[in-house]
Amino acid sequence: MTSKAAALTTRQSSTAIPPVKPRCKIHSTAIIADKAQITGSHIVEIGENVIIHPHARIKAEHGNVFIGRGCQIAEKAVVGAGEPTGSSDAADMVIGEGVSIETSAVVEAQKVGDYTTLEVKSSVGRGAVVGKWCKVAPMCEVREQEVLEDYTVVFGDGQKGRRVDGVLRDRKEVRDAKLKGKAMEMEVLKGLIPDSQMKWTMG
């Protein structure tokens, strides 16, 4: 009995820093891949039908992270506020419903609206507020504290590429079709990515 306890303590001491486990609230229908990383000590809340791909990172070091239902976070994407730069402000982060965050995107926004797509390698600066149905094209950047109104598309080189997607705004059937596509996508992904949310919810 004593030897067993000793073995346990040695194993614990061998790890350099005891990992701080975030306080996770994960809905039972969410899929968190085994190799996804959730770090930090703040609260991480993940809604229904969320899919988090392997090697995606959710950082809750500097604030709470709330992820709405039906979101998708791809590999190498980093979600969560970074090191605070100025005065200590609350760096909570709210991601709405049905948001897709693609490969290598870096999201430090304060709020991301429903059904927004953040494409490959895009970045959203700290404290930015992104509206609903926005799209940030590949390798584009949303600056710190910037506010994007609903249906904005960010594109091109530099900072000038901003326009409002009128078709998406005015026509509900287009939005419905997009939603249908997204739902089908999620359905397929659900069958392909094995879930290991137990890793985060147990203990």
Binding site: E75, E119, P138, M139, E185, E187, V188
Partner: protein, 207 residues
């Protein structure tokens, strides 16, 4: 008196690359999902930090009663002497096919060079293509043979890059042709490798 020399064989230490029977060199630090769905043609290099998403494949239909289970579906197939540089992501694209969302198996040809930090989600890349660093090849784009994609290019979804052209910009535009003699040589012993040419020399130099 000489001291006993330290064991010379550096083979005992772990090498960066694992070499397969067909000469593929795969970094130990590559992140490979669903390896049963990935085909490598031989003499292909997968560098450190590369993400290969082989798990995103067409879902095999459940075998009917009495039928044999179908063999694995291929999600990513890469040809011979192709080099995938560091921190690149290769992820098969998804589209609506016969009323169902499916992942399209992606095909990368022979002697293709893919630069570091790129994202590849194209439907197909033909042979002798050169892709620069930090490129994004959006879902379902098609890259034809002997074309060159400049660094920091975003190829939009569904674009076809014609054979023998140079493309660049965000979004990608055709900027010119590669010209005659592009990609000639590079295959022989002791020769330097050239863009769009035979990459065997480069593959050999990777250790």
């Amino acid at each position: 008196m000489s001291r006993p020399t330290a064991p010379v064989s550096r083979r005992s230490t772990k090498t960066e690359y694992i070499e397969t029977d067909t000469g593929n060199k795969i970094s130990r630090r590559a992140y490979i999902e669903g390896k049963q769905n990935i085909m490598l043609g031989g003499k292909t290099v997968i560098m450190a930090g590369v993400h290969l998403r082989g798990d995103l494949c067409r879902k095999p239909e459940p075998a009917a009663e009495g039928e044999k289970e179908k063999p694995n579906t291929t999600a990513i197939s890469i040809g011979r002497s192709t080099v995938v540089s560091t921190n690149t992501t290769v992820r098969p694209p998804m589209r609506l096919h016969k009323g169902q969302m499916t992942f399209i198996p992606m095909r990368i040809g022979d002697n293709v060079f893919i630069g570091p930090n790129s994202h590849i989600s194209s439907a197909s890349i033909s042979s002798h293509v050169y892709v620069g660093a930090n490129c994004v090849l959006s879902p379902l784009c098609i890259v034809k043979e002997s074309s060159k994609i400049l660094p920091n290019t975003v190829v939009p979804p569904g674009m076809t890059v014609p054979a023998g052209t140079v493309v660049g910009g965000k979004p990608a535009k055709i900027l010119g042709e590669v010209g005659d003699g592009w990609g000639q040589g590079g295959g022989g012993e002791g020769e330097e490798w050239v863009e769009g040419g035979d990459l065997r020399a480069l593959v050999r130099s990777v250790k």
